[in-house]
């Protein structure tokens, strides 16, 4: 992925909102579905960042989280990478089943998978890539891609 935007943010939950707001501003004219952009990308990116900090990096203030975002037409790809040891994303229980629905944790990756068109992890498990495909602006059909300035 050749990113159009790279952020290097501290391992601090308080920095998530500003980082997500910034990415959302850069994406504000990507595609023609403001609700999917507003809800799906915001939730997916926020969850990925929270997971990177809480579970990936843990409580180590010296660690950082990298966010890379690429715009290809009306498709947004975001990759979030932490400096942790990684984990096995195949071992995520279903938070909607009876055994888990009363648990306080365990809904982040589930929501990412529900709201984004693609979610995939690297082999180590410390980097997640999120893909959101939006419908193109009608006026952009047949025109080359990239986010509008």
């Amino acid at each position: 992925m050749a990113p159009d935007l790279v952020l290097d943010i501290p391992n601090d939950l308080a920095s998530i909102e500003e980082a997500v707001d910034f990415v959302m501003e850069q994406c504000s004219e990507c595609g023609d579905d403001p609700r999917r952009l507003r809800l799906n990308l915001r939730v997916g990116l926020s969850e990925a960042l929270a997971n990177a900090m809480l579970y990936g990096n843990g409580p180590d203030p010296s660690k950082r989280v990298k966010v890379e975002v690429a715009f290809q037409g009306s498709t947004i790809t975001a990759r979030v990478t932490d400096e942790g040891r990684g984990f096995n994303p195949r071992c995520i229980p279903d938070p909607t089943c009876a055994a888990n629905i009363l648990k306080a944790e365990g809904r982040g990756i589930f929501l990412m998978r529900k709201l984004l068109d693609e979610v995939y992890f690297n082999d180590r498990g410390n980097s997640v890539t999120l893909v959101l495909r939006l419908p193109p602006y009608r006026g952009d059909v047949g025109v080359g891609g990239g986010a509008r300035a």
Binding site: L13, L39, R42, S46, E47, I101, L102, K103, R107
Partner: protein, 110 residues
């Protein structure tokens, strides 16, 4: 961003202003648990001024609902916008909570 608490008859209403996320969920949890400890048993969490909840916010609501029920009380939710409703539906938490369209509707029968 914050939580405003007010008493309406014998119901404690908590307004969530802004967001309910990993960064402020403990504040909500502490406020409700303190009130539960003081004897309050009826709660409404009002999301009229809330734009966003993350999975941690959903989780703290699940946790609080469970603790309130264990003490013989009830916690209801009110005024979820369409985005918030979507998150509750996706996670099937709309089956766990009493979700009302308005504060008045949530107050009825509580």
């Amino acid at each position: 961003m914050g939580f405003q608490v007010e008493k309406v008859n014998d119901v404690l209403v908590v307004d969530v202003e802004g967001q309910l996320i990993v960064g402020n969920r403990q504040e909500l949890k502490q406020k409700v648990l303190e009130e539960l400890e003081s004897g309050e048993r009826k709660f409404i969490v009002d999301f009229e001024k809330t734009g966003y909840i993350d999975s941690s916010g959903l989780g703290v609501l699940v946790s609080l609902s469970k603790k309130v029920r264990e003490q013989g009380g009830e916690l209801r939710l009110a005024n979820l916008n369409e985005d918030l409703k979507t998150l509750f539906e996706l996670t099937k938490l709309d089956t766990l909570f009493y979700i009302a369209d308005s504060r008045d509707a949530a107050l009825k029968g509580l």
